[in-house]
């Protein structure tokens, strides 16, 4: 039932430019954000901002608040931000999977909205059982007012069942298309829009220990050959180059390996190949897909490249897999490189994870842990991989509309961007907001340099493949150190719903 709705939609849009790819120069900061527009703005710039702004008497939306300037272009949001606060005392509930730093970031993003409108937003952060709880609530007939989902296929399945409110009925569809040119189409059939992208991730990055690299005289690899050469050098020096895990969070086992394959495919073949692969036109057993598997296998399963080989990848938990990198305060890493998306960060560093206090390790090119773009493989195809969470509106009430509209504005995510750090899929978000955040800046650079951005392929395949047999398959594949590629690919093909 899913595939009918998904595939045409997905085909049309997948490999368009995602999010931030639209380059730094073309963004048009909204008026309210002008104070923050100085790159590398310090406390002094902030202090001088009110003096510069032309209308300090306007208490409607001061630059410090994470609120869009009225008129916002959205009816209910304009009303909600009005002086008479028509929705004061109303409640809106939203269910998300964001906990920890992400939960904190989202809370920051919506704090000013609640103050300004008097609408109380109840955030249910469910964490790893989010999808189960959500399905129970939706099918039980008492859904939250809104819900965030990482997989577009899930949104489309609920939409197909008639459980989702078409946001185009109350929001300007053309405006949404313009603001989210690459991501809105994932859950839209052109007329109806089932969800609005909230948060984007760039996956084409590798995290590494900066100081240890410098001490050993390693340089950041720019190409696949350099990556292999560096890996050989690390092995020769008596360590293991890669930290890789196919475990977690929860039972989401295998996504890191599927990401590797998807990444290599985008960097070796035309984006159309990824498209056709998602839609099922190209099978897993196709030579092009197999070549991507083989290339990943030649790296991760090569003797000594991952400590313990393939079975170690299956056994390692996503939360702890990078711990060896921190041996002797990153001076003697047990593994040197991990490919993991931009949402990764200090939440997962060993000291913070075990103590709950802030990590003493810093992220940055001159910090403890740095990030470099995934090396290029082909000269022609330099695609990058991304993904996006989006939220659905499940109950249609004016105050819910207002909150949904708020989240669709650039300012709807500003509090999260500038505090914990997150990428917005909204192209109207000025790049300056990312300037102070190292990992967001790197992600932005990666996306800008990419020739194409591919959306996480496994998230767009039918779920029984994308989160089922594909995950089981790569787990199988890793357990056998990549010796059973053909069997695994055939098994995944066989599981594709007819």
């Amino acid at each position: 039932m899913i595939k009918r709705l998904t595939m045409p939609t997905v085909l049309a849009v997948v490999v368009m430019m995602l999010v931030v790819a639209c380059g730094s120069s073309s963004t048009s900061p909204s008026p309210a954000s002008s104070a923050a527009a100085t790159p590398g703005a310090s406390a002094s710039a902030e202090a001088s901002a009110p003096a510069e702004s032309e209308a300090p008497a306007e208490s409607e939306a001061p630059a410090e608040l994470n609120l869009p300037a009225v008129p916002t272009g959205y009816t209910e949001l304009d009303a909600a931000l009005g002086a008479d606060k028509p929705y004061e005392g109303k409640k809106v509930s939203i269910q998300t999977q964001w906990t920890g730093g992400e939960g904190e970031g989202f809370a920051n993003a919506i704090a000013d909205f609640q103050k300004a409108t008097g609408i109380a937003v109840q955030v249910d952060s469910i964490g790893s059982s989010h999808e189960t709880v959500l399905k129970t609530r939706i099918e039980g007939g008492s859904p939250p007012d809104m819900a965030a989902l990482a997989q577009p296929t899930g949104v489309l399945a609920y939409a197909n069942d008639g459980k989702v409110v078409d946001v185009a009925t109350f929001m300007d569809a053309a405006k949404l298309m313009a603001d989210f040119p690459s991501t809105i189409g994932l859950t839209s059939d052109g007329d109806r829009i089932w969800s609005i992208p909230t948060k984007a991730d760039v996956k084409s990055m590798i995290w590494y220990p900066v100081k240890a690299f410098a001490a050993k005289g390693y340089t950041v690899p720019k190409t696949w050959d350099e990556l292999v050469a560096l890996s050989d050098k690390i092995v020769a020096d008596g360590s293991s180059p890669f930290c890789a895990s196919a475990g977690g969070p929860g039972t989401a086992t295998g996504w890191q390996l599927t990401d590797w394959v998807e990444e290599v495919l985008l960097k070796t073949e035309d984006p159309q190949v990824t498209n056709d692969w998602i839609s099922g036109k190209i099978k897993f057993t196709d030579p092009k897909i197999k070549a991507a598997f083989d290339r990943v296998g030649s790296l991760l399963f090569k003797d000594g490249y991952v400590d313990g080989g393939g079975p170690a990848i299956v056994n390692a938990d996503m939360k702890t897999v990078m711990d060896p990198m921190f041996t002797d305060d990153t001076a003697n890493p047990g593994c040197w490189m991990q490919k993991i998306p931009v949402w990764y960060g200090p939440d997962f560093f060993p000291d913070r994870r075990t103590s709950g206090t802030d990590s003493k390790y810093t992220i940055g090119d001159d910090g403890d842990i740095g990030i470099f773009p995934f090396p290029t493989i082909s000269d022609t195809f330099k695609g990058a991989e991304g993904s996006a969470d989006s939220f659905m509106v499940l109950n249609d009430r004016p105050e819910v509309r207002a909150f949904a509209e708020f989240l669709a504005t650039p300012e709807g995510l500003k509090g999260w961007i500038t505090s914990v750090g997150v990428l917005s899929p909204n192209v109207r978000v000025p790049v300056e907001w990312y300037a102070d955040n190292y990992k967001l800046k790197v992600a932005n650079d990666i996306a800008s340099a990419a020739t194409a951005i591919g959306f996480d392929a496994s998230d767009l395949m039918p779920p029984e493949v994308g989160q089922g047999s594909f995950w089981t398959g790569v787990s199988d594949w890793a357990n056998a150190n990549g010796t059973n590629t053909d069997t695994v690919l055939q098994a995944i093909d066989d599981s594709w719903p007819k």
Binding site: T251, V314, P463, E464, G468, D476, N479, D494
Partner: protein, 388 residues
């Protein structure tokens, strides 16, 4: 309302009090239900109480979703309990007092129905209805049209593998628990500190399945050969010169590893029941067997085991049902991604991750059908024992 019915069942006056009391109670229950149905009933009720007490500010705050929300919730909980418990009480007393006014012949015929109806209705709503809907759902596609595709897909290799795993669970985990339970019960029967020994075997039963799995994950933990092994089993294994083995995540060793967890839990249960049964075997019979020259082994196999056959069937069927429904252990170990998937885990994945409600329903039906004969066996055995 508190009327002592034992005294007044005959007298007209008390009966009328009961009737009036019931009516008043029903009205109160109806009010309670209206408060419960309203989403903000608790706040509104407390706000009106505050208004009556003259606390206008508190009432206003409550209506705006602030103020003493906690007390509003407490109030709601109290009402729910009163309506729930009181409602049932009212139903029985009220209706039976009404029926008692009828002629004895009619009364005796209707009265049992009154008492059984609520139970049957609840069973129907919560058991029969969902079961029927599930079976129907297994024959429907996403649009609700009739299809056999859900059932046909169960014959494909991945699902046959799942069924195979369930059968292995049924055979190995059940026989393991029952066998070890019987053995330890028989052996502990002969030692001095019997209860102490039994406590150690019985204790794991107090641990939840997920908790036990977490404990065993530490036993099975695997580290690359270059790292120190913190997993108990691998620490011992490597100390004797072996290569570390991923016990819990590599097929096929992961199947017995996971079954071991259930056996560890269920052996205690089997042991306790068997132990009681063995003690129930009369000493005269055992003496007689000994006098006839039976060896200890013959005594156990030919006398004790046949004597406790009913108990063995009951324990076996109970453990068998647990193994057929096995979910928690597989889910917590890996989610069934290493060729160790079972019906219940796959049913969950089909339902909540793959959005294949029809196939999930088919799997649920398979599970239901598989458990059914075991249940029947158990019930029959139970009835035979009751008759004895």
């Amino acid at each position: 309302m508190a009327v002592d019915r034992t005294q007044g069942s005959g007298s007209y006056g008390t009966s009328r009090t009961v009737l009036v009391g019931s009516l008043v109670g029903l009205v109160l229950a109806a009010i309670g239900v209206t408060v419960l149905i309203d989403k903000e009933g608790g706040q509104k009720l407390l706000a009106s109480i505050y208004d009556m007490l003259g606390n206008a500010a508190g009432a206003e705050a409550l209506r705006n979703g602030q103020g003493d929300q906690f007390f509003a919730k407490l109030l709601l909980a109290a009402i729910a309990m009163l309506v729930g418990v009181g409602g049932i009480w009212l139903l029985f007393t009220g209706v039976s007092s009404l029926i008692e006014r009828l002629r004895p012949q009619v009364r005796d015929r209707i009265l049992p129905l009154v008492f059984i109806t609520p139970a049957v209705a609840l069973l129907g709503i919560y058991l029969v209805y969902p079961a029927v809907v599930t079976v129907i759902g297994s024959f429907q596609d996403g649009e609700g049209a009739f299809t056999l595709a859900n059932w046909a897909s169960l014959a494909t290799p991945p699902f046959l593998e799942i069924l195979r795993n369930n059968i292995l669970w049924l055979l190995i985990a059940t026989s393991g628990s029952v066998g070890l339970g019987l053995l330890s019960a028989a052996l502990f029967d002969r030692i001095r500190r019997e209860s102490l020994a039994k406590i150690f075997v019985f204790m794991p039963l107090a641990i939840s399945l997920v908790g036990a799995t977490v404990i065993w994950k530490f036993v099975y933990a695997w580290q690359p050969p270059s790292q120190p092994q913190y997993g108990l089993l691998n620490a011992v294994w490597t100390a004797f010169g072996g290569e570390p083995i991923p016990w819990a995540t590599q097929f096929p060793i992961n199947l017995p590893s996971q079954m071991m967890i259930l056996i560890w839990l269920q052996t205690g249960f089997a042991m306790v029941v068997f132990s009681a049964a063995i003690k129930g075997v009369s000493t005269e019979i055992i003496e007689a067997a000994r006098l006839d020259g039976a060896s200890e082994r013959q005594l156990f196999v030919k006398v004790i085991v046949p004597m406790i056959r009913g108990t063995i069937v009951t324990v076996t069927t109970t453990v068998a049902i647990v193994t057929l429904k096995i979910f928690d252990i597989v889910m917590s170990i890996s989610g069934g991604r290493n060729h160790d998937d079972v019906v219940a885990v796959r049913m969950f994945a089909e339902m909540f991750q793959f959005f294949n409600d029809g196939r999930a329903a088919a799997l649920a039906t398979v599970l239901f059908i598989a458990v059914l004969p075991v249940m029947v066996l158990n019930l029959r055995n139970f009835r035979r024992q009751a008759a004895m």
